[in-house]
């Protein structure tokens, strides 16, 4: 894909104010990792007194670009100008010295120190070589005051909420008189009030002339806060836009690389007719929700039906899956399985009700790397039986052989350690683990992420087949084409909330879903 293919429609990419010189101007930045072109000639400019949002899907190159700017990664080609001077930072320290401060998603502060100590750490005023504590505290208090924060500088940082800690982290960044402040997903663990408070501070800094680079997956927040945005896709820049001149729909379609005019290829779809009218749904959630994770939602999945969950990363897709799989406990609403009210307190409780959950975090929550393919496949089934009732060896061999064959697992060696398999084959082994437990509802969270095209197609076909044989499937994917192609119904998530649900017909296309992701539920 080239940067030029999307910029055209309706926006003014070159909305450069003539009188202001950018604080940061990155041009033609390229970074290559072995086998991957992470950034391909990307431009980015930050103007003083503006909030600039950096947008893009997972893997678009946002964090790589930030790391190029802050000196974490070296760049292969391109130019970075700060205040018109060319710079090549070889570490975050140098970037900071040049006035570029970064606040990361996870608060990188010392919880056991006081607020004042955290703010001034490394920059304490000194007298005769020793730290001048009264002055340190005074300076910290001044910094807090400039940001309009009412926090006791002598209180311990750990006693404050994450939101306040985040604000303290920003105060700390501003101690060095940063000209550029990079906020990488600062709001992901904050609630609405806390976000508002953070934004007040950010606006105040903007009005003081600081250039702010803001990264967030929350579209509403981006539109609320930013003045300008740069969209990245697959390591390339799609364009730069004034926020006021771009609609939500346009933004989303630029992020995922599909314009509204392109029609979906209808031939590759699965059969969309499933008779959901008869019988109760296999699983039915009513007002199910969990504080700080996902707002109350209704959702049901019938036997033989694939329900797709669409939405951007962080929109609450995974959180819905985890509630239905017992991986997290719901604190509101009810859940019934086959018409019986149940509470899923543990994943095991879900498994006992024939609900299988393949996590999106394959490495962290799926693969048991040092065990063999054989052991990984039978793990779920064996866990269900308990350790005292081992599966007979012959049955293990039969199951393992069957799934290696059916899912085309390569190498077809049951004794290979799972960590030595490729991502796609690891994923197939995990699917085999769950299929061996004969689930009636299969929750698949990003089963095709990061795996090669062949394996992806095989997994898609498998999902379709399973539903054809009467299994209920909840299918989650960031790739909307996949969701549209496989699902009978699609639930759309945005900002941790289910905003819409549509029944898939032959006329439904990716664009309809994009529109719902961008604006659904607001009308």
């Amino acid at each position: 894909m080239t940067p030029s293919d999307a910029g055209a429609a309706g926006s003014t990419p070159d909305a450069r104010p003539q009188d202001v010189r950018p604080v940061v101007e990155m041009t033609g930045i390229s970074i290559e990792f072995p086998g991957v072109k992470a950034l391909d000639g990307v431009d980015l400019r930050l103007l003083p007194g503006e909030v600039h949002a950096l947008m893009g899907e997972n893997g678009a190159g946002k964090s790589t670009l930030i790391k190029a700017l802050t000196g974490v990664y070296g760049i292969d080609s391109g130019e970075i100008l700060v205040d018109g001077e060319p710079h090549r930072f070889s570490g975050p320290g140098e970037a900071q010295a040049a006035g570029i401060a970064t606040v990361y998603q996870e608060v990188n502060l010392c919880e056991n120190l006081t607020v004042a100590e955290n703010i001034m750490l490394g920059n304490e005023p000194r007298r005769f070589g020793a730290i001048d504590w009264p002055r340190t505290r005074r300076r910290a208090a001044e910094h807090l005051a400039t940001m309009g924060l009412d926090v006791d500088p002598a209180s311990s940082l750990g006693s404050h909420s994450i939101a306040v800690q985040q604000l303290v982290a920003i105060s700390r960044a501003m101690v060095v008189d940063a000209k550029v402040l990079i906020l990488d997903e600062p709001t992901s663990s904050l609630d609405a009030d806390e976000v508002a408070r953070l934004f007040d501070v950010v606006r105040r800094l903007r009005d003081q002339g600081v250039a702010i680079l803001f990264v967030s997956h929350f579209i509403e927040q981006v539109f609320d806060l930013s003045d300008r945005m740069t969209v990245l896709r697959n390591g390339a820049r799609v364009g730069e836009y004034r926020t006021a001149e771009l609609s939500r729909t346009e933004l989303v379609s630029r992020m995922i690389g599909r314009s509204m005019e392109v029609l979906e290829d209808l031939e590759v779809r699965t059969e969309h007719t499933v008779d959901t009218a008869q019988g109760a749904p296999f699983v039915q959630a009513v007002g199910l929700g969990r504080r700080g994770s996902v707002q109350a939602f209704d959702l049901d999945v019938h036997e033989g039906e694939v329900v797709g969950l669409a939405g951007l990363l962080g929109s609450g897709r995974t959180e819905v899956a985890r509630l239905l799989a017992g991986a997290d406990r719901a604190d509101t609403g009810t859940l019934s399985v086959k018409g019986t009210l149940t509470r899923l307190r543990t994943p095991r409780a879900a498994i006992e009700r024939k609900i299988a959950f393949s996590s999106e975090d394959r490495k962290g929550e799926g693969v048991v790397g040092d065990l063999t393919v054989r052991e990984n496949i039978v793990l779920g089934l064996q866990a269900e039986r308990g350790w005292l009732r081992p599966l007979p060896g012959r049955q293990v061999d039969e199951i393992v052989h069957r799934y290696i064959e059916a899912l085309n697992i390569r190498p077809a060696n049951p004794d290979a350690l799972l960590r030595n398999l490729s991502g796609g084959n690891q994923q197939k082994v995990l699917l085999a683990r769950w299929l061996a437990t004969a689930p009636e509802l299969f929750i698949l969270d990003e089963p095709t992420r990061g795996i090669d095209v062949g394996a992806k197609a095989e997994i898609q076909r498998l999902v379709s087949d399973l539903a054809g044989r009467g299994m209920a499937v909840l299918f989650i994917s960031a790739e909307l084409e996949e969701v549209v192609r496989l699902s009978h119904r699609i639930a759309v998530m945005r900002d941790r909330r289910k905003v819409a649900e549509l029944t898939n017909t032959d006329t439904v296309g990716v664009d309809d879903v994009v529109e719902l992701i961008a604006s659904g539920g607001d009308r």
């Binding site: 052991e375 004794d415 030595n420």
Partner: protein, 374 residues
Amino acid sequence: MPTSPTPSTASAAADASGGFGAVVRHPLFWPVVALVALLAVNTAVRPGFLSVSILDDHLFGSPIDILRNCAPLMLVALGMSLVIATRGIDLSVGAVVAISGAVALTFIAGAPDPASTTTVFLAIGMALVLGLVLGVWNGFLVSVLGIQPIIATLILMTAGRGVAMLITEGQITTVTSAPFKTLGAGYWLGLPVATLVAFGVFGLVALLVRRTALGMLVESVGINPAASRLAGVRARTIVWTVFALSGLFSGLAGLILSSNVMAADANNAGLFIELDAILAVVIGGTSLAGGKFSLSGTFVGVLIIATLSLTVTNVGISPLVTPLFKALVVAAVTLLQSPAMRRKLAERTRRRGRTAPVPPSDKPADVSTDKVVA
């Protein structure tokens, strides 16, 4: 993301040296070499070291001493292996050893007829049940309350000897009871009863662990607790079980130790046995990070430590430098069996192989160990 080249390519290249290479790469190779070397040193110092004779109707000699002396450690290290495999550690085993001995001997001493088998069996039963209960306590702290294993078992480690002291009322309790003495100092079919009991339990558990699914589930929990939970493994039960077993085996070890000397010394029984047990497990190739465990490795590890203790006296090393000597041997064995060290060695062999080419082997590279399969 930048990916660093994996060491697999290096070691895969070094693997192509056929059968001998496979033997050298076996995780038990270096521990066994260390054991053989230790025995060789002993034989060099005292040529009759390995000879076994028959005396008083039973086998007699240094090898038999090693087998008998290692019995308590064998039991403790068995439990420790399982605990370590779940990412845990059990520091309280020494204290449980002391408590178990104290309970048994105090009961026997207070019984009307210390020499009756009923008394002895009751005493043994009580000590074992108590060991199990203490293990369950540890398991409760770790798996239910979520206390870090090192802290949870430190509680019993420090408190346990005090408890033993209370039981023995601060005395070193001694008894005379022939049936009880059999456990630690007796012989059956010419072999020490302690050895038969310890090896029997070890073999039984090794069999149990691999014949049931316990071993696999223990490893699964140790390797990736989050994935195991989502796969429906009852991680809590598993962790609880291994701590309970560790307590039970330590209780049995305490019985053997106290029976051997027919005394319960709350302060010194099983002192530092937790450290020896951890060492034995590590020497045997089980990582302290949890996951894959090797009971046969632990077995060899225990034999090494027991032989080492005997070597110190046999070679006549001054008691002043004994700890240093032990430390050096342990450090050497641990280094030799560490994967990083073996990789270095393999690279050296490979470099030497380049100057004097080794005939290429037709044996395909072992997929399960080294090759990354795309």
